[in-house]
Protein backbone atom coordinates (compact mmCIF):
# COMPACT_ATOMS: atom_id res chain seq x y z
CA UNK A 1 0.00 0.00 0.00
CA UNK A 2 1.16 3.52 -0.76
CA UNK A 3 0.95 6.12 1.98
CA UNK A 4 -0.66 8.42 -0.57
CA UNK A 5 -3.78 6.26 -0.48
CA UNK A 6 -4.20 7.14 3.19
CA UNK A 7 -4.39 10.90 2.61
CA UNK A 8 -7.42 12.85 1.46
CA UNK A 9 -5.58 14.93 -1.10
CA UNK A 10 -8.66 16.97 -1.92
CA UNK A 11 -8.45 18.36 1.62
CA UNK A 12 -4.88 19.63 1.16
CA UNK A 13 -3.40 22.02 2.11
CA UNK A 14 -3.96 21.36 5.79
CA UNK A 15 -5.07 23.97 8.30
CA UNK A 16 -1.69 23.79 10.08
CA UNK A 17 0.65 26.79 10.15
CA UNK A 18 3.97 26.85 8.30
CA UNK A 19 6.60 25.39 10.61
CA UNK A 20 4.09 23.36 12.64
CA UNK A 21 5.08 19.85 13.76
CA UNK A 22 1.70 18.20 13.34
CA UNK A 23 1.94 17.75 9.58
CA UNK A 24 5.20 15.84 10.02
CA UNK A 25 3.63 13.48 12.53
CA UNK A 26 0.54 13.06 10.35
CA UNK A 27 2.66 12.09 7.35
CA UNK A 28 4.84 9.73 9.37
CA UNK A 29 1.65 8.09 10.62
CA UNK A 30 0.51 7.42 7.06
CA UNK A 31 3.99 6.00 6.29
CA UNK A 32 3.77 3.62 9.24
CA UNK A 33 0.22 2.52 8.46
CA UNK A 34 1.04 2.00 4.79
CA UNK A 35 4.10 -0.08 5.73
CA UNK A 36 1.89 -2.25 7.89
CA UNK A 37 -0.53 -2.71 5.02
CA UNK A 38 -3.60 -2.11 7.15
CA UNK A 39 -6.72 -2.28 4.99
CA UNK A 40 -8.44 1.10 4.81
CA UNK A 41 -11.75 -0.60 5.54
CA UNK A 42 -10.39 -1.87 8.84
CA UNK A 43 -9.05 1.45 10.08
CA UNK A 44 -10.93 4.29 11.77
CA UNK A 45 -9.30 7.51 12.96
CA UNK A 46 -10.80 9.58 15.78
CA UNK A 47 -9.76 13.08 16.82
CA UNK A 48 -10.90 15.62 19.37
CA UNK A 49 -10.67 19.40 19.22
CA UNK A 50 -7.58 21.46 18.60
CA UNK A 51 -4.97 21.77 15.87
CA UNK A 52 -4.11 18.06 16.07
CA UNK A 53 -7.82 17.30 16.13
CA UNK A 54 -8.10 18.34 12.52
CA UNK A 55 -6.00 15.34 11.50
CA UNK A 56 -8.91 12.87 11.40
CA UNK A 57 -10.39 14.64 8.40
CA UNK A 58 -7.19 14.28 6.41
CA UNK A 59 -6.99 10.49 6.65
CA UNK A 60 -8.58 8.74 3.69
CA UNK A 61 -10.55 6.32 5.86
CA UNK A 62 -13.79 6.59 7.84
CA UNK A 63 -12.97 9.17 10.48
CA UNK A 64 -14.66 10.98 13.34
CA UNK A 65 -13.92 14.46 14.69
CA UNK A 66 -15.69 14.81 18.01
CA UNK A 67 -16.14 17.32 20.83
CA UNK A 68 -13.28 18.62 22.97
CA UNK A 69 -11.70 15.89 25.07
CA UNK A 70 -14.02 13.09 23.97
CA UNK A 71 -11.91 11.35 21.34
CA UNK A 72 -11.12 8.47 23.73
CA UNK A 73 -14.70 7.55 24.74
CA UNK A 74 -15.98 7.80 21.16
CA UNK A 75 -13.04 5.68 19.99
CA UNK A 76 -13.63 3.16 22.76
CA UNK A 77 -17.30 2.91 21.79
CA UNK A 78 -16.28 2.21 18.19
CA UNK A 79 -13.70 -0.35 19.21
CA UNK A 80 -16.04 -2.21 21.56
CA UNK A 81 -18.87 -2.13 19.03
CA UNK A 82 -16.67 -3.61 16.31
CA UNK A 83 -13.48 -5.24 17.62
CA UNK A 84 -12.48 -6.03 14.03
CA UNK A 85 -11.68 -2.36 13.49
CA UNK A 86 -8.31 -0.84 14.33
CA UNK A 87 -9.09 2.45 15.99
CA UNK A 88 -6.44 5.13 15.95
CA UNK A 89 -6.83 8.24 18.09
CA UNK A 90 -4.89 11.25 16.80
CA UNK A 91 -5.22 14.32 18.99
CA UNK A 92 -3.39 16.86 21.09
CA UNK A 93 -2.22 17.19 24.69
CA UNK A 94 -4.87 19.76 25.59
CA UNK A 95 -7.58 17.45 24.27
CA UNK A 96 -6.35 14.10 25.60
CA UNK A 97 -4.55 15.12 28.77
CA UNK A 98 -6.31 18.39 29.66
CA UNK A 99 -10.07 18.43 29.15
CA UNK A 100 -10.14 14.70 28.38
CA UNK A 101 -7.91 13.73 31.29
CA UNK A 102 -10.52 11.71 33.14
CA UNK A 103 -11.16 9.62 30.03
CA UNK A 104 -7.40 9.04 29.71
CA UNK A 105 -7.26 7.68 33.27
CA UNK A 106 -10.06 5.25 32.62
CA UNK A 107 -9.52 4.22 29.00
CA UNK A 108 -5.97 3.27 30.00
CA UNK A 109 -7.22 1.50 33.13
CA UNK A 110 -9.70 -0.50 31.01
CA UNK A 111 -6.89 -1.23 28.54
CA UNK A 112 -9.25 -0.16 25.72
CA UNK A 113 -8.05 -1.47 22.39
CA UNK A 114 -6.81 1.85 21.01
CA UNK A 115 -3.62 3.23 19.53
CA UNK A 116 -3.32 6.83 20.69
CA UNK A 117 -1.03 9.40 19.09
CA UNK A 118 -0.86 12.45 21.33
CA UNK A 119 0.85 15.48 19.84
CA UNK A 120 2.36 17.27 22.81
CA UNK A 121 3.17 20.81 21.72
CA UNK A 122 2.99 22.19 25.29
CA UNK A 123 0.34 24.77 24.47
CA UNK A 124 -3.25 25.42 23.40
CA UNK A 125 -2.34 26.44 19.87
CA UNK A 126 -5.67 26.71 18.08
CA UNK A 127 -7.15 29.14 20.58
CA UNK A 128 -4.13 31.43 20.50
CA UNK A 129 -1.57 30.10 22.96
CA UNK A 130 -2.97 29.48 26.42
CA UNK A 131 -1.29 27.41 29.14
CA UNK A 132 -1.72 23.64 28.69
CA UNK A 133 -1.31 20.97 31.38
CA UNK A 134 1.94 20.16 29.59
CA UNK A 135 3.35 23.71 29.50
CA UNK A 136 6.80 23.85 31.15
CA UNK A 137 6.83 25.76 34.43
CA UNK A 138 7.88 29.33 34.02
CA UNK A 139 6.80 29.59 30.37
CA UNK A 140 4.75 32.71 29.66
CA UNK A 141 1.45 32.14 27.86
CA UNK A 142 -1.74 34.15 27.35
CA UNK A 143 -3.22 32.68 30.54
CA UNK A 144 0.03 32.62 32.50
CA UNK A 145 1.55 36.00 31.62
CA UNK A 146 3.78 35.91 34.70
CA UNK A 147 5.06 32.44 33.90
CA UNK A 148 3.33 29.09 34.25
CA UNK A 149 3.21 28.39 37.99
CA UNK A 150 2.75 24.61 37.76
CA UNK A 151 4.91 21.69 36.72
CA UNK A 152 3.83 19.92 33.51
CA UNK A 153 1.67 16.86 33.90
CA UNK A 154 3.48 13.54 33.99
CA UNK A 155 1.74 11.61 31.20
CA UNK A 156 4.13 8.70 31.45
CA UNK A 157 3.23 8.37 35.12
CA UNK A 158 -0.50 8.22 34.39
CA UNK A 159 -0.21 5.52 31.75
CA UNK A 160 2.35 3.40 33.57
CA UNK A 161 0.36 3.49 36.82
CA UNK A 162 -1.73 0.73 35.24
CA UNK A 163 -0.19 -2.69 35.70
CA UNK A 164 -0.59 -3.55 32.01
CA UNK A 165 0.60 -0.59 29.98
CA UNK A 166 2.38 0.54 26.84
CA UNK A 167 3.74 4.06 26.70
CA UNK A 168 6.12 5.59 24.17
CA UNK A 169 7.72 9.00 24.21
CA UNK A 170 9.09 10.09 20.88
CA UNK A 171 9.43 13.35 18.98
CA UNK A 172 8.69 15.05 15.71
CA UNK A 173 12.44 15.16 15.07
CA UNK A 174 13.17 11.46 15.68
CA UNK A 175 11.18 10.19 12.70
CA UNK A 176 12.47 6.62 12.53
CA UNK A 177 11.70 6.19 16.20
CA UNK A 178 8.31 7.82 15.74
CA UNK A 179 7.36 5.46 12.90
CA UNK A 180 8.51 2.43 14.84
CA UNK A 181 6.48 3.50 17.85
CA UNK A 182 3.37 3.94 15.72
CA UNK A 183 3.76 0.48 14.17
CA UNK A 184 4.19 -1.13 17.57
CA UNK A 185 1.26 0.78 19.07
CA UNK A 186 -1.08 -0.17 16.25
CA UNK A 187 -0.04 -3.83 16.41
CA UNK A 188 -0.42 -4.12 20.16
CA UNK A 189 -3.81 -5.24 21.42
CA UNK A 190 -4.95 -2.95 24.20
CA UNK A 191 -4.20 0.63 25.12
CA UNK A 192 -1.04 1.99 23.50
CA UNK A 193 -0.19 5.63 24.09
CA UNK A 194 2.41 7.60 22.15
CA UNK A 195 3.38 11.01 23.45
CA UNK A 196 5.00 12.85 20.57
CA UNK A 197 7.07 15.78 21.77
CA UNK A 198 6.34 18.44 19.17
CA UNK A 199 6.17 22.19 18.97
CA UNK A 200 4.02 25.13 18.00
CA UNK A 201 6.05 27.97 16.53
CA UNK A 202 3.21 30.43 15.92
CA UNK A 203 1.48 30.53 19.29
CA UNK A 204 4.20 29.36 21.65
CA UNK A 205 7.66 29.36 20.13
CA UNK A 206 7.69 32.97 19.06
CA UNK A 207 6.87 34.06 22.61
CA UNK A 208 9.76 31.97 23.88
CA UNK A 209 12.10 33.68 21.44
CA UNK A 210 12.42 31.06 18.72
CA UNK A 211 12.86 32.55 15.26
CA UNK A 212 11.47 29.61 13.27
CA UNK A 213 9.94 26.19 13.42
CA UNK A 214 13.28 24.81 12.40
CA UNK A 215 14.91 26.25 15.51
CA UNK A 216 12.34 24.48 17.67
CA UNK A 217 12.94 21.25 15.76
CA UNK A 218 16.65 21.57 16.43
CA UNK A 219 15.87 22.03 20.12
CA UNK A 220 14.06 18.67 20.15
CA UNK A 221 17.18 17.07 18.71
CA UNK A 222 19.30 18.74 21.35
CA UNK A 223 16.99 18.03 24.30
CA UNK A 224 16.01 14.41 23.78
CA UNK A 225 18.11 11.25 23.66
CA UNK A 226 16.94 7.82 22.60
CA UNK A 227 16.95 5.12 25.22
CA UNK A 228 16.28 1.87 23.35
CA UNK A 229 15.89 -0.29 26.45
CA UNK A 230 14.93 1.71 29.50
CA UNK A 231 14.98 0.02 32.87
CA UNK A 232 12.00 1.47 34.68
CA UNK A 233 10.62 4.79 33.59
CA UNK A 234 12.06 7.16 31.00
CA UNK A 235 13.95 10.15 32.33
CA UNK A 236 12.60 13.56 31.37
CA UNK A 237 15.05 13.90 28.46
CA UNK A 238 14.68 10.35 27.18
CA UNK A 239 12.68 8.90 24.32
CA UNK A 240 11.72 5.26 24.31
CA UNK A 241 9.05 2.71 25.12
CA UNK A 242 7.94 1.64 28.59
CA UNK A 243 5.73 -1.42 28.66
CA UNK A 244 4.38 -4.16 30.85
CA UNK A 245 2.31 -7.08 29.64
CA UNK A 246 0.33 -7.13 32.86
CA UNK A 247 2.23 -9.72 34.84
CA UNK A 248 2.43 -9.12 38.55
CA UNK A 249 5.71 -7.69 39.64
Amino acid sequence: MDYKDLIKWERMPTTWCPGCAIGTVFKQTTFALADMGIAQDRLVVVSGIGCSGRAAGYFNVDSVHVTHGRALPVAEGISRANPELKVLVFSGDGDLVGIGGNHLLHASRRDANLAVICINNSIYGMTGGQMAPTTPSGAKTLTSPHGTPYAPLNVQGIITSNRRHWYARTSSFHLVHLQKAIREAVERPGFAFIEVMAFCIENFGRRLGYKSGHEMLAKLKQDYKLNPSPTGLLKDNELGVVKNDGQAG
Binding site: L43, D62, T67, R70, P73, V74, E76, H103
Partner: protein, 338 residues
Amino acid sequence: MKTLVMGNEAVACGALKAGMSFFAAYPITPASEIMHVLADYEPAIAFVHAEDEIASIHMAIGASLAGRKAMTSTSGPGMSLKQEGIGLAHMMEVPLVVVNVQRVGPSTGMPTLAAQGDILQAAHGSHGDYVPLVFYPSSVEECYRITIEAFNAAEESRSPVTLLLDGYLAHLLETVDLDAIEVALKPRTLEPLGRGRRHFTGLLAKDGVPKTKDSAYYREWYARVKAKILGTAAQYRFFDYQKTAGAETLLVAFGITARVLQPLTRDYSLFKPISLFPILENELRAAADEHKSVVVVEMNDGQYRGEIQKVLRREVRGISLLGGRISLNEIRERLGGL
Protein backbone atom coordinates in the same frame (compact mmCIF):
# COMPACT_ATOMS: atom_id res chain seq x y z
CA MET B 1 -47.37 -14.41 30.92
CA LYS B 2 -47.99 -11.44 33.16
CA THR B 3 -45.21 -10.67 35.59
CA LEU B 4 -44.45 -7.87 38.00
CA VAL B 5 -42.17 -5.43 36.17
CA MET B 6 -40.58 -2.15 37.26
CA GLY B 7 -40.53 0.90 34.95
CA ASN B 8 -36.74 0.95 34.68
CA GLU B 9 -36.72 -2.78 33.98
CA ALA B 10 -39.27 -2.32 31.20
CA VAL B 11 -37.02 0.32 29.60
CA ALA B 12 -34.08 -2.12 29.65
CA CYS B 13 -36.22 -4.94 28.22
CA GLY B 14 -37.68 -2.63 25.58
CA ALA B 15 -34.20 -1.60 24.51
CA LEU B 16 -33.16 -5.25 24.15
CA LYS B 17 -36.31 -5.95 22.19
CA ALA B 18 -35.49 -3.01 19.91
CA GLY B 19 -32.14 -4.63 19.10
CA MET B 20 -29.94 -2.44 21.27
CA SER B 21 -26.55 -4.09 21.56
CA PHE B 22 -24.46 -1.32 23.12
CA PHE B 23 -25.14 0.29 26.46
CA ALA B 24 -22.91 2.62 28.46
CA ALA B 25 -23.89 4.55 31.58
CA TYR B 26 -22.81 5.80 34.98
CA PRO B 27 -24.75 4.85 38.12
CA ILE B 28 -27.25 7.41 39.41
CA THR B 29 -30.44 7.36 41.43
CA PRO B 30 -33.19 6.77 40.28
CA ALA B 31 -31.94 5.36 36.94
CA SER B 32 -29.47 2.70 38.07
CA GLU B 33 -31.81 -0.30 37.69
CA ILE B 34 -31.62 0.11 33.92
CA MET B 35 -27.87 -0.50 34.22
CA HIS B 36 -28.34 -3.38 36.65
CA VAL B 37 -30.68 -5.24 34.33
CA LEU B 38 -28.51 -4.69 31.25
CA ALA B 39 -25.26 -5.65 33.00
CA ASP B 40 -26.60 -9.20 33.17
CA TYR B 41 -26.81 -9.37 29.37
CA GLU B 42 -23.09 -9.00 28.83
CA PRO B 43 -21.51 -10.32 26.59
CA ALA B 44 -24.59 -10.68 24.36
CA ILE B 45 -24.57 -6.88 24.38
CA ALA B 46 -21.57 -4.61 24.89
CA PHE B 47 -21.98 -3.02 28.32
CA VAL B 48 -19.75 -0.34 29.81
CA HIS B 49 -19.95 1.14 33.28
CA ALA B 50 -18.14 4.29 32.20
CA GLU B 51 -16.16 6.81 34.23
CA ASP B 52 -18.87 9.46 33.90
CA GLU B 53 -21.97 10.48 31.97
CA ILE B 54 -19.97 12.39 29.37
CA ALA B 55 -17.94 9.30 28.53
CA SER B 56 -20.99 7.07 28.41
CA ILE B 57 -22.91 9.13 25.86
CA HIS B 58 -19.79 9.54 23.74
CA MET B 59 -19.15 5.80 23.84
CA ALA B 60 -22.74 5.27 22.72
CA ILE B 61 -22.17 7.70 19.84
CA GLY B 62 -19.05 5.79 18.80
CA ALA B 63 -20.86 2.45 19.02
CA SER B 64 -23.78 3.75 16.98
CA LEU B 65 -21.39 4.99 14.29
CA ALA B 66 -19.75 1.56 14.33
CA GLY B 67 -23.06 -0.15 13.62
CA ARG B 68 -24.84 -0.91 16.88
CA LYS B 69 -28.10 0.41 18.25
CA ALA B 70 -26.95 2.21 21.37
CA MET B 71 -28.42 3.68 24.54
CA THR B 72 -27.33 5.51 27.66
CA SER B 73 -29.36 6.29 30.77
CA THR B 74 -29.08 8.77 33.61
CA SER B 75 -30.91 11.25 35.84
CA GLY B 76 -30.85 15.06 35.94
CA PRO B 77 -27.29 15.69 37.13
CA GLY B 78 -26.00 13.25 34.53
CA MET B 79 -28.33 14.65 31.88
CA SER B 80 -26.72 18.04 32.34
CA LEU B 81 -23.38 16.42 31.51
CA LYS B 82 -24.76 14.55 28.52
CA GLN B 83 -25.89 17.71 26.74
CA GLU B 84 -22.53 17.95 24.98
CA GLY B 85 -23.01 14.51 23.43
CA ILE B 86 -26.61 15.24 22.47
CA GLY B 87 -25.42 18.22 20.46
CA LEU B 88 -22.68 16.15 18.82
CA ALA B 89 -25.16 13.42 17.88
CA HIS B 90 -27.45 16.03 16.33
CA MET B 91 -24.58 17.56 14.37
CA MET B 92 -23.22 14.21 13.16
CA GLU B 93 -26.74 12.76 12.69
CA VAL B 94 -26.17 9.73 14.89
CA PRO B 95 -29.15 7.63 16.05
CA LEU B 96 -29.16 7.13 19.80
CA VAL B 97 -31.52 6.80 22.76
CA VAL B 98 -30.87 8.84 25.92
CA VAL B 99 -32.97 8.00 28.99
CA ASN B 100 -33.42 10.61 31.71
CA VAL B 101 -35.18 9.41 34.87
CA GLN B 102 -36.06 12.75 36.47
CA ARG B 103 -35.51 13.65 40.11
CA VAL B 104 -35.84 16.91 42.01
CA GLY B 105 -33.20 19.48 41.06
CA PRO B 106 -31.38 21.67 40.45
CA SER B 107 -28.02 20.03 41.10
CA THR B 108 -28.02 17.08 43.50
CA GLY B 109 -31.39 18.28 44.77
CA MET B 110 -33.57 15.51 46.19
CA PRO B 111 -32.15 12.34 44.64
CA THR B 112 -34.81 9.87 45.74
CA LEU B 113 -37.82 12.06 45.04
CA ALA B 114 -39.31 12.28 41.56
CA ALA B 115 -39.80 15.40 39.50
CA GLN B 116 -40.65 16.52 35.99
CA GLY B 117 -38.28 19.43 36.01
CA ASP B 118 -36.18 18.50 33.00
CA ILE B 119 -38.87 19.08 30.36
CA LEU B 120 -37.33 22.19 28.84
CA GLN B 121 -33.84 20.76 29.19
CA ALA B 122 -35.01 17.76 27.15
CA ALA B 123 -36.03 20.14 24.39
CA HIS B 124 -33.31 22.77 24.52
CA GLY B 125 -30.56 21.53 26.84
CA SER B 126 -27.68 21.53 24.39
CA HIS B 127 -26.49 24.74 22.80
CA GLY B 128 -27.52 25.86 19.34
CA ASP B 129 -30.64 25.08 17.33
CA TYR B 130 -31.88 21.54 16.84
CA VAL B 131 -35.20 19.75 16.70
CA PRO B 132 -35.65 17.44 19.68
CA LEU B 133 -37.61 14.20 19.72
CA VAL B 134 -38.79 13.56 23.29
CA PHE B 135 -41.07 10.80 24.58
CA TYR B 136 -42.48 10.32 28.06
CA PRO B 137 -44.38 7.13 28.91
CA SER B 138 -46.71 6.92 31.90
CA SER B 139 -47.04 3.21 32.66
CA VAL B 140 -44.72 0.23 32.83
CA GLU B 141 -46.28 -1.17 29.66
CA GLU B 142 -45.63 2.15 27.94
CA CYS B 143 -42.06 2.24 29.23
CA TYR B 144 -41.46 -0.94 27.26
CA ARG B 145 -43.36 0.04 24.12
CA ILE B 146 -42.16 3.65 23.95
CA THR B 147 -38.53 2.61 24.45
CA ILE B 148 -38.84 0.52 21.30
CA GLU B 149 -40.52 3.41 19.52
CA ALA B 150 -37.71 5.72 20.69
CA PHE B 151 -35.20 3.44 18.97
CA ASN B 152 -37.35 3.42 15.84
CA ALA B 153 -37.62 7.20 15.84
CA ALA B 154 -33.86 7.50 16.40
CA GLU B 155 -33.17 5.33 13.37
CA GLU B 156 -35.68 7.10 11.16
CA SER B 157 -34.54 10.57 12.15
CA ARG B 158 -30.87 9.70 12.61
CA SER B 159 -30.87 11.80 15.76
CA PRO B 160 -30.55 11.33 19.53
CA VAL B 161 -34.00 10.67 20.99
CA THR B 162 -34.71 11.50 24.63
CA LEU B 163 -36.86 9.19 26.70
CA LEU B 164 -38.08 10.86 29.86
CA LEU B 165 -39.22 9.00 32.95
CA ASP B 166 -39.63 10.19 36.50
CA GLY B 167 -38.39 8.52 39.63
CA TYR B 168 -41.86 7.27 40.60
CA LEU B 169 -42.64 5.78 37.20
CA ALA B 170 -39.15 4.26 37.06
CA HIS B 171 -39.77 2.45 40.35
CA LEU B 172 -43.43 1.68 39.73
CA LEU B 173 -44.21 -2.03 39.72
CA GLU B 174 -47.07 -3.20 37.51
CA THR B 175 -48.18 -6.57 36.18
CA VAL B 176 -47.63 -6.67 32.47
CA ASP B 177 -47.04 -9.27 29.77
CA LEU B 178 -44.07 -7.80 27.91
CA ASP B 179 -43.96 -10.67 25.41
CA ALA B 180 -47.46 -9.84 24.23
CA ILE B 181 -46.43 -6.32 23.18
CA GLU B 182 -45.67 -6.16 19.50
CA VAL B 183 -43.88 -3.19 17.97
CA ALA B 184 -42.42 -3.39 14.46
CA LEU B 185 -38.68 -2.63 14.48
CA LYS B 186 -36.95 -0.18 12.19
CA PRO B 187 -33.69 -1.42 10.71
CA ARG B 188 -30.41 0.45 11.04
CA THR B 189 -30.15 3.47 8.79
CA LEU B 190 -26.49 4.37 9.21
CA GLU B 191 -23.83 2.52 7.25
CA PRO B 192 -21.32 1.38 9.92
CA LEU B 193 -17.79 2.75 10.15
CA GLY B 194 -15.11 0.91 8.26
CA ARG B 195 -16.73 0.78 4.86
CA GLY B 196 -16.09 4.22 3.49
CA ARG B 197 -13.98 7.32 3.38
CA ARG B 198 -16.49 9.42 5.28
CA HIS B 199 -15.68 12.12 7.81
CA PHE B 200 -18.07 12.65 10.70
CA THR B 201 -17.51 15.92 12.52
CA GLY B 202 -19.11 18.19 15.09
CA LEU B 203 -18.30 21.09 12.79
CA LEU B 204 -20.74 22.20 10.18
CA ALA B 205 -19.59 20.14 7.20
CA LYS B 206 -20.74 19.28 3.72
CA ASP B 207 -19.84 15.77 2.58
CA GLY B 208 -17.22 15.62 5.32
CA VAL B 209 -15.57 18.93 4.45
CA PRO B 210 -15.91 21.65 7.14
CA LYS B 211 -17.91 24.70 6.05
CA THR B 212 -17.40 26.80 9.13
CA LYS B 213 -17.81 30.20 7.50
CA ASP B 214 -20.59 29.37 5.04
CA SER B 215 -23.79 30.90 6.42
CA ALA B 216 -25.81 30.04 3.32
CA TYR B 217 -24.87 26.39 3.68
CA TYR B 218 -25.73 26.46 7.39
CA ARG B 219 -29.26 27.54 6.49
CA GLU B 220 -29.55 24.86 3.84
CA TRP B 221 -28.20 22.21 6.22
CA TYR B 222 -30.47 23.28 9.08
CA ALA B 223 -33.55 23.26 6.85
CA ARG B 224 -32.72 19.72 5.76
CA VAL B 225 -32.19 18.26 9.23
CA LYS B 226 -35.22 20.11 10.60
CA ALA B 227 -37.44 18.73 7.84
CA LYS B 228 -35.99 15.28 8.38
CA ILE B 229 -36.72 15.21 12.12
CA LEU B 230 -40.14 16.83 11.77
CA GLY B 231 -40.93 14.23 9.10
CA THR B 232 -40.08 11.49 11.57
CA ALA B 233 -42.01 13.20 14.36
CA ALA B 234 -45.12 13.15 12.19
CA GLN B 235 -44.98 9.34 12.32
CA TYR B 236 -44.62 9.22 16.10
CA ARG B 237 -47.58 11.15 17.48
CA PHE B 238 -48.33 9.30 20.67
CA PHE B 239 -50.96 10.61 23.09
CA ASP B 240 -54.07 9.63 24.95
CA TYR B 241 -57.16 11.83 25.03
CA GLN B 242 -59.96 11.00 27.42
CA LYS B 243 -62.87 13.34 26.73
CA THR B 244 -65.40 13.57 29.52
CA ALA B 245 -68.96 14.57 28.60
CA GLY B 246 -69.83 17.94 30.08
CA ALA B 247 -66.32 18.70 31.29
CA GLU B 248 -65.38 22.36 30.99
CA THR B 249 -61.74 21.91 31.88
CA LEU B 250 -59.09 19.97 29.98
CA LEU B 251 -56.27 18.67 32.14
CA VAL B 252 -52.91 18.08 30.47
CA ALA B 253 -50.45 15.79 32.24
CA PHE B 254 -47.76 13.25 31.44
CA GLY B 255 -45.72 10.55 33.17
CA ILE B 256 -46.67 9.68 36.74
CA THR B 257 -48.84 12.81 37.02
CA ALA B 258 -51.19 11.54 34.30
CA ARG B 259 -51.61 8.33 36.30
CA VAL B 260 -52.37 10.15 39.52
CA LEU B 261 -54.96 12.32 37.77
CA GLN B 262 -56.87 9.33 36.43
CA PRO B 263 -59.61 9.37 39.13
CA LEU B 264 -60.45 12.97 38.14
CA THR B 265 -61.58 11.97 34.64
CA ARG B 266 -65.15 11.71 35.93
CA ASP B 267 -65.28 15.51 36.03
CA TYR B 268 -62.40 16.58 33.82
CA SER B 269 -61.11 15.64 30.39
CA LEU B 270 -57.50 14.50 30.30
CA PHE B 271 -54.98 14.89 27.52
CA LYS B 272 -51.80 12.87 28.06
CA PRO B 273 -49.03 13.57 25.57
CA ILE B 274 -46.46 10.77 25.24
CA SER B 275 -44.70 12.59 22.39
CA LEU B 276 -43.68 15.73 24.28
CA PHE B 277 -41.51 17.32 21.61
CA PRO B 278 -42.18 18.38 18.95
CA ILE B 279 -45.44 19.44 20.64
CA LEU B 280 -48.58 17.73 19.32
CA GLU B 281 -49.98 21.07 18.28
CA ASN B 282 -52.97 19.95 16.21
CA GLU B 283 -54.13 17.29 18.66
CA LEU B 284 -53.75 19.62 21.63
CA ARG B 285 -55.54 22.47 19.91
CA ALA B 286 -58.42 20.22 18.88
CA ALA B 287 -58.80 19.03 22.46
CA ALA B 288 -58.38 22.51 23.93
CA ASP B 289 -60.99 23.94 21.55
CA GLU B 290 -63.55 21.65 23.13
CA HIS B 291 -63.02 23.12 26.59
CA LYS B 292 -63.41 26.44 28.36
CA SER B 293 -60.12 26.15 30.19
CA VAL B 294 -56.89 24.24 29.98
CA VAL B 295 -54.84 23.30 33.06
CA VAL B 296 -51.43 21.64 32.94
CA VAL B 297 -50.58 19.65 36.05
CA GLU B 298 -46.87 18.93 36.28
CA MET B 299 -44.10 18.36 38.81
CA ASN B 300 -42.20 21.51 37.89
CA ASP B 301 -42.79 25.26 37.89
CA GLY B 302 -44.88 25.44 34.73
CA GLN B 303 -42.39 24.30 32.10
CA TYR B 304 -44.79 22.50 29.75
CA ARG B 305 -47.61 24.93 30.54
CA GLY B 306 -45.51 27.72 29.04
CA GLU B 307 -44.73 25.68 25.95
CA ILE B 308 -48.38 24.82 25.36
CA GLN B 309 -49.53 28.38 25.93
CA LYS B 310 -47.05 29.51 23.33
CA VAL B 311 -48.39 27.02 20.82
CA LEU B 312 -52.12 27.39 21.56
CA ARG B 313 -51.96 31.18 21.96
CA ARG B 314 -54.63 31.14 24.66
CA GLU B 315 -54.46 31.24 28.41
CA VAL B 316 -53.28 28.00 29.92
CA ARG B 317 -53.25 27.64 33.69
CA GLY B 318 -51.05 25.36 35.68
CA ILE B 319 -50.70 23.44 38.89
CA SER B 320 -47.09 23.01 39.94
CA LEU B 321 -46.32 20.09 42.19
CA LEU B 322 -42.89 20.89 43.55
CA GLY B 323 -40.44 19.13 45.83
CA GLY B 324 -41.31 15.57 44.90
CA ARG B 325 -44.71 15.36 46.57
CA ILE B 326 -47.75 14.43 44.54
CA SER B 327 -51.19 13.80 46.06
CA LEU B 328 -54.58 13.55 44.44
CA ASN B 329 -56.19 15.45 47.31
CA GLU B 330 -53.87 18.39 46.88
CA ILE B 331 -54.49 18.48 43.13
CA ARG B 332 -58.25 18.27 43.62
CA GLU B 333 -58.13 21.09 46.14
CA ARG B 334 -55.99 23.32 43.98
CA LEU B 335 -58.13 22.66 40.91
CA GLY B 336 -61.13 23.80 42.94
CA GLY B 337 -59.31 26.99 43.86
CA LEU B 338 -58.38 27.98 40.30
